[in-house]
């Protein structure tokens, strides 16, 4: 019963597992939904949804699953709203999905490859730094997984609004060359030292034996602070269009970070050109799978070592103005730079790694935004040396007198 609903939920991005589904089935057997749709709604939500962020998705999934059911009794009002209204966002997702189905992944890859070939030819005669300037390396043609085209935009640098293909799809492949160097550099982050502020709560066996012997056998206990691995790392990666030429480099860092097992916690999030209210869980920056930046700021303590990887090159508005976000259907109340400042304020150990070699930072199209971001974050090249430098670094350019480094 309702098995299809399970897949609806998955489609709408509610992470349900089989166990929870079983629980729901058991509960239904016990008659706990009271054979009413409202009962089912509350029961299902309590059992299947584990985060308030997913409530809305659950509502949507339920609405579309029960669309054709003529219920006599009242559903929660919100659901009726969804059912009765032809909601634009829902319409778009439907259209997008249909489009998506028509093109299979192979075909999409082929199209992208074709497009890329075209582009290289076009750019050969001109600027050597293909795609590094501006937000859209591929010039005129924005490509959306759903096949939605968005027309040209006249504002500053961003010639076109680019929505992300799954460019970082194969992030986890094992890159061997360069990975080891990155890994070695990261190892310097390791902090297996005794915690300075912890309570002395572990019995120091050797010390106790020593002391007791000195006391001629009368027991004297020695306590020590437990050694705790407290290295927590957060990796924020730009998955925007202009990062495309650096995929390989990013892959190496990514693989190295993931192979390093000595972190207590490792979080990876993605963003598109600049960080706003949301951070995405996967490189496609799908708008179904995200966390609020606010939530990250609240839940992750300032001990996290934050490594931001991005080319920092974007349109002026994208960084400096509210509403400047590149994604066509999103809006940000706070300018990107404000979010970056807040992140920097919260995470004192943070660094921005830029795949563009530093000698071009002041001279390319994105120079303004690179400069602005460098005032907020210490910036280093995304190279093994750059990573090492940021780990060793003592003085921060950004805020006088304060120390900025990834390790103490």
């Amino acid at each position: 019963m309702f098995t299809e609903f399970y897949y609806y939920l998955k489609d709408f991005g509610v992470p349900v597992s089989f166990n929870e589904w079983q629980d729901l089935m058991n509960a239904l057997d016990q008659g706990m939904a009271g054979s009413s749709l409202t009962g089912f709604y509350y029961l299902g939500r309590a059992l299947l949804v584990k985060s308030e962020a997913h409530y809305d998705r659950f509502d949507l999934a339920l609405a579309s699953y029960f669309q054709d059911v003529e219920a006599v009794e009242g559903l929660p009002e919100k659901i009726w709203e969804w059912l009765n209204r032809e909601v634009p966002p829902l319409e778009i997702t439907e259209a997008m999905r249909q489009n998506h189905h028509r093109l299979d992944i192979e075909e999409m890859k082929r199209m992208l490859a074709e497009r890329l070939a075209e582009q290289t030819q076009q750019h050969h005669g001109g600027n050597r730094w293909v795609g590094t300037g501006g937000t859209s390396p591929f010039g005129h043609s924005g490509y959306h997984p759903g096949g939605i085209r968005i027309g040209g935009d006249t504002r500053s640098l961003s010639a076109v609004k680019v929505a992300g293909m799954r460019r970082f799809q194969e992030f986890r492949t094992d890159e061997t060359l360069g990975v080891r160097q990155f890994q070695l550099a990261l190892r310097k982050l390791r902090q297996f030292t005794t915690r300075l502020d912890g309570a002395r709560e572990e019995l120091d066996l050797e010390g106790t034996v020593d002391q007791t012997c000195q006391n001629a056998g009368r027991l004297e206990l020695k306590w020590a602070r437990p050694r705790v691995n407290s290295m927590k790392v957060m990796l924020l990666m730009d998955a925007g269009g202009s990062m495309w030429p650096y995929t390989r480099l990013c892959n190496q860092l990514f693989t190295a970070v993931h192979k390093s097992s000595h972190f207590k916690d490792l979080k990876t999030f993605y963003f598109h050109n600049c960080i706003y209210d949301w951070l995405y869980n996967d490189p496609s920056c799908s708008q179904r799978d995200y966390v609020d930046t606010e939530y990250i700021l609240r839940t992750c303590d300032s001990n996290y070592r934050v490594i931001i990887v991005g080319d920092a090159s974007m349109g002026y508005a994208e960084l400096m103005r509210p509403g400047g976000i590149i994604d066509w259907d999103l809006h940000n109340d706070q300018a990107g730079i404000e979010w970056l400042r807040r992140l920097r304020q919260h995470f004192e150990y943070s660094v921005w790694l830029n795949p563009i070699p530093s000698r071009y930072w002041a001279r390319m199209e994105g120079a303004f935004t690179i400069g602005a971001i460098r005032k907020v974050f210490p910036m280093e090249e995304l190279t093994v040396e750059g990573l090492e430098r940021s780990i060793r670094k003592r003085k921060s350019r950004s805020r006088a007198g304060e120390e900025s480094k990834l390790v103490y």
Binding site: N26, A27, G31, M32, Y42, A46, L203, Y295, T299, D333
Partner: protein, 289 residues
């Protein structure tokens, strides 16, 4: 529906929404822990007290701190005491049992009657903490290797877990819980809640205070929004201070009760000054008397 198990209907001291009551009853019926999330001050902790009261069951509270280990909830084997005792030889130390001290979870398992166990602010603890309790909460039993005993709950306690969303909880743990998010009460609900705490409040005062309160909450960029418990405290302050209802919206006396962060206070002061440039609203008057 649900005839076998006790039904929770809310209590006089605690206003419970239909949704929350449903979730509580589902959790009780399925014998699964109920995870309550919500903004601070939405009455998460009070829920457990209310359940215990309404169902006439004992309430056991396990307060979680940043240093709390999962093991402490089950039992602690006091080896040090045993070592000391063995030195003076006035105790028989061969019986390990006397050095096994029950934690809160152990206490709840071994109670004869069903109890309500509140695991308060689980997100305060280490990242691994919830994972360490998976088996115990699932099976409601644990093993003590020192005495080779298995402790199994006589009756599954009603477990209420609260979280302020300060840390993310592991998926494996979430899968085993019933989840409920306490949404912030809308003005109507809020009036009912206030009635419980301040039954004889002047109507105009309440109106004005509520308007100001929701205005503050809806301000953009406020970092720590005032919560229910802060509103209740503020009302108390207004009543004790004898503030006239007309003044509330204009001056927002005792603002410090509502806004706890300097940045937020500055934000509001700047905003108000911008709006009321012609009127003389000196900074000091914002703080009340």
């Amino acid at each position: 529906m649900m005839t076998k198990t006790a039904q929770y209907q809310g209590s006089a001291q605690y206003i419970v929404s239909d949704e929350l009551r449903n979730s509580v009853n589902i959790a009780i019926a399925l014998g699964k822990p109920l995870l309550i999330k919500g903004e601070p001050g939405t009455g998460k902790t009070m829920l457990a007290q209310s359940i215990a009261e309404a169902l006439a069951k004992e309430l056991i509270i396990w307060n979680i701190k940043s240093t709390t280990k999962a093991q402490e909830g089950l039992y602690v084997y006091d080896t040090v005491q045993r070592l000391y005792d063995s030195q003076f030889q006035d105790h028989d130390v061969s019986n390990i049992k006397q050095y096994i001290k029950n934690g809160k979870l152990g206490e709840a398992f071994q109670s004869h009657a069903q109890v309500v166990l509140l695991i308060d602010e689980i997100d305060k603890a280490d990242l691994e903490f919830p994972n360490d309790l998976l088996w115990e909460l699932d099976q409601m039993s644990y093993y003590i290797p020192e005495t080779k005993e298995t402790i199994t709950a006589r009756t599954r306690p009603i477990v209420i877990i609260t979280s302020n969303a300060e840390k993310e909880l592991p998926d494996a743990f979430l899968r085993r819980c019933i989840f409920h998010y306490i949404a912030f009460p809308d003005p109507n609900e809020m009036q009912r809640i206030i009635k419980v705490h301040h039954p004889h409040l002047d109507k105009r005062l309440l109106e004005q205070a509520m308007e100001t309160f929701y205005m503050l909450r809806n301000l953009n960029n406020i970092q720590k929004k005032p919560s229910t418990s802060e509103l209740i405290d503020w009302l108390q302050a207004l009543v004790v201070g004898g503030i006239s209802p007309n003044k509330i919206k204009q001056d927002i006396p005792f603002l410090g009760v509502l806004l706890k962060k300097n940045e937020d206070l500055d934000l509001l002061l700047n905003g108000l000054q911008g709006k009321t440039q012609n009127r003389s609203t000196p900074r000091s008057s914002m703080w009340g008397r």
